[in-house]
Symmetry: C2
Subunit: 230 residues, 2 copies
């Protein structure tokens, strides 16, 4: 919530708690561990989980990709499932940050020009940010969350679900406004699911080496789903 600090630290999901334990606390590891190895594990795991799936990826694969020996991932994570959960939580934290930043930036831009954002403009910002999270740089984390759901324990599923609810909550008033004005039709709950389906499916087919850009995808969603194209 604080506006002043924008400094990023490369570890999000489970910060080594210096004073306050947030979530389930993690043991402070050897002094020289600055969290980089953990980050490397997370990135390697995200990439491999996405490419091959959770079950088809061995912890040995991940260790090798992170330049470690086979047993070393278990120094950073309790087990393989916890590694998967951390990938998802990291992805959702990042998505939430990016979403908030995109909205804040758009609101500021509009204010600088002396007007406020319309529901349609909000919608465009959210859609564009979603594609960025889904298909932009470092975009393995969210697809893993979308498609490796099954492999989480029920408790982990609950935690990730809470983050996902936070993410979707930002959309709700925007979709409600669009529905009220008639720009978005159909039962709002179903409309939200269909909309996310249309966007999320792109993680399965989108090839950045091909022609369409993220702006193209964004425009397409607006054209398809809104009755009055802005």
């Amino acid at each position: 919530m604080s506006i002043a600090t924008d400094l990023s630290e490369p570890s999000q999901a489970e910060p080594a708690p210096l004073r306050r334990a947030r979530g389930r606390p993690r043991k402070a590891v050897h002094e020289r561990d600055d969290g980089n190895r953990r980050q490397e594990l997370l990135r390697a795991a995200a990439r491999l989980f996405r490419q091959q799936g959770f079950d088809a990826t061995s912890t040995r694969d991940i260790a090798t990709a992170a330049g470690m020996q086979s047993g070393s991932p278990f120094y950073h994570f309790e087990n393989k499932e916890a590694l998967l959960a951390a990938v998802m939580q990291e992805g959702m934290q990042s998505a939430l940050h990016r979403q908030a930043a995109a909205m804040a930036s758009a609101v500021a831009d509009a204010a600088a020009q002396g007007h406020t954002l319309s529901a349609c403009e909000c919608f465009r910002v959210l859609v564009r940010s979603h594609f960025e999270v889904l298909l932009g740089p470092d975009s393995d984390f969210i697809p893993v969350m979308l498609y490796e759901w099954r492999s989480l324990s029920p408790e982990q599923r609950g935690e990730v679900n809470r983050l996902k609810d936070d993410y979707e909550a930002v959309w709700v008033p925007v979709l409600k406004a669009l529905h009220a004005s008639g720009e978005l039709q159909g039962e709002p709950g179903l409309a939200r699911m269909m909309l996310f389906g249309a966007m999320n499916w792109s993680a399965q087919w989108y090839d950045p080496a091909r022609e369409a850009t993220l702006d193209d995808l964004t425009r397409s969603v607006l054209q398809l789903f809104l009755k009055t194209t802005a």
Copy 2:
């Protein structure tokens, strides 16, 4: 190649057709084998692959679910991958049949009333049929195809892809007509991907025990994607 002998050799992939080969013909195994056990394996595999994923499902799980011993699935299928490919091909064959039947029935109904189907009506029939295939009875096969793609060999992927292309080909002229009349906007290729995304995602969240029916979903798609709701 000889027709008279139907004595089994435990390899299936290349069938000895008795008279008429339907689809890809399948060799008759031990006299008493009428194909039911193979079907039971396919159904059990489809269900388990969908629930747990391909890699998390052991061939022993499948054998047990089909009432067999652990080694017996390999009497019917060369290996686990071939079982997965067969699930997907079976699912796509069935989807193609159901799609064709739905279209034929709708065309016949319209003709009986002395008119032809509009693009919008064709669209509704296709969408409804797709939801039936995706969420109706025996609906494990297509979700497995959608979400276990990675585990196929390249050759198997090619075969399944051909069936998928056949399935999508039916949609193309309909979408083209809707685009020409302005009822469907946006670049047609992207529009198709988004549309399938919106529909296919339902396999991840739809709960038949809840309120929405397949007709509700169909109506929602039409309302969301078409500019003029019929």
